[in-house]
Amino acid sequence: MNFWLELLIKVGLALAIMLPVALVVIFGELKISAHMQSRVGPYFAGGRWGWAQPLADGLKFMQKEDLVPADADDRVYKLAPYIVLMGTLALYVVIPIGPDAVARDLDLGVFYVLAVSSLSTLGVLMAGWSSANKYSLIGGLRAAAQLIAYELPLVLAVIAVAVQAGSLSLNDIVNAQASFHLFGVESILGRDVTWISSLISPFMILQIVGLVIFLVASLAELSRIPFDMPIAESELTMGYLTEYSGLRFTMFFLGEYAGLVSMAAIAATLFMGGYSFPGVSEDVLNFLGPVILLSKVMFIAFVFIWLRWTFPRLREDQLQTIAWKWLIPAGLINIVATAIFKVAF
């Protein structure tokens, strides 16, 4: 097949799948947050349950004027939302959605994920700098400080997974989880324990420390409450988003939720077995894989939403304390422990 045609189809497919998923997550956020506060949330848009609310919001944003502040650095200001959105969408390239279904199975998949996921930080910093607004600037700098602090625990959590799986390719990590045994232990006290290992095959159990670190750090990477100091409304109006309106704001908004979905997809792939499910054979997985992965993604997205609507925003120093004093040492210990187990068994 023509290379460019194939590329076009892949890009179109990625957008056709990921943007609706992001919209679903936005709708889920509206509804779940409402019910957590004993409200009903959107109710009338689209008829039933207000299902069309995210679409209506998007259409409303698109009608707004695309304002550029007079003092703004024009080009940088206009480019920033694209970089944020691209940074999150580019992650989908390496996420395997089935045994044979992956856009590009890189050997350095995990490395690519970590590198690209910090690309959107650059977009945020650009937005903050170019807006010519003190709130935007402080928001952008806070985002930079936060993302530097939380990039480390994220990487450390992922390293432990890579050590345990013995590979940096996401597909191999999924396979390692699907066919994983308790560090090679087949029997404990003379009893066959392979059935246990088939149950606990995802790294969710063995890498529980890593999973928690990864989830907390990715919350911070996405700068969602309780880690949303970059856009803290009570202090910074809207942080780096202050000056944005119309379509560019929509892109930031979509980027935020697409980022949530991509982070959830990566967490699901690294820790929860990705497209695989205990007891489901590989032939079936080619069809069921995307569904399994999607349900895992939705579960993690729910946890993110749940956390957001439970906790207030942290203070800037508390944020740094959590990263440097707790998550990074825990991540390092986790790596050491994983490596020892890996070598010992």
Partner: protein
């Protein structure tokens, strides 16, 4: 004895909070879907001020006491022929205009309190929103209509 804290499991606040939001998630929301279903306000709710034009003597006390000057009153004297031939002409104050600007009204109820002739009443009706702020000025007829929604006063106590 120093009050030493009992050791608890870590992340107590975290657990309590998460459990609370999860519980609330599955509870029935308290929302009343307003246009479809309505709450009945309590009988003496301060919804809107109703006017009894028969009782009003155009004394202007309400208009003067109103903290944000939202009451507009105009009236004139109507002359009536004297009772006896050669007597003084009798006069009667007649109400021409009694408007309340509900865009300004802050529902303090001072006008209702101050009225010496019991011409103003609280009505629990609350559905009089308008599309423009200038349309919030309601006239005598509208205020009189609201009189029909005023609940009966509470019964006098026996003995």
């Amino acid at each position: 004895m120093t009050g030493r804290k009992m050791p608890t499991l870590p992340f107590k606040g975290l657990r309590t909070g998460m459990w609370l939001t999860l519980k609330t998630l599955f509870k029935k929301p308290v929302t009343v879907h307003y246009p479809l279903e309505k709450e009945t306000p309590v009988p003496r709710a301060r919804g809107v001020i109703a006017l009894d034009t028969e009782a009003c003597t155009v004394c202007m006390l309400c208009a003067r006491e109103c903290p944000d000057w939202c009451i507009y009153i105009e009236g004139h004297k109507e002359e009536q022929p004297p009772a006896k031939e050669g007597g003084r002409v009798r006069t009667r104050a007649t109400l021409d205009r009694f408007d309340i600007d509900y865009a300004l009204c802050m529902y303090c109820g001072i006008c209702v309190e101050v009225c010496p002739f019991d011409a103003l009443f609280w009505s629990p009706d609350f559905e009089y929103s308008e599309l423009g702020i200038s349309e919030m000025m309601h006239d005598k007829d509208r205020l009189t209509y609201w009189l029909s929604t005023v609940p009966d006063p509470p019964k006098l106590e026996s003995n």
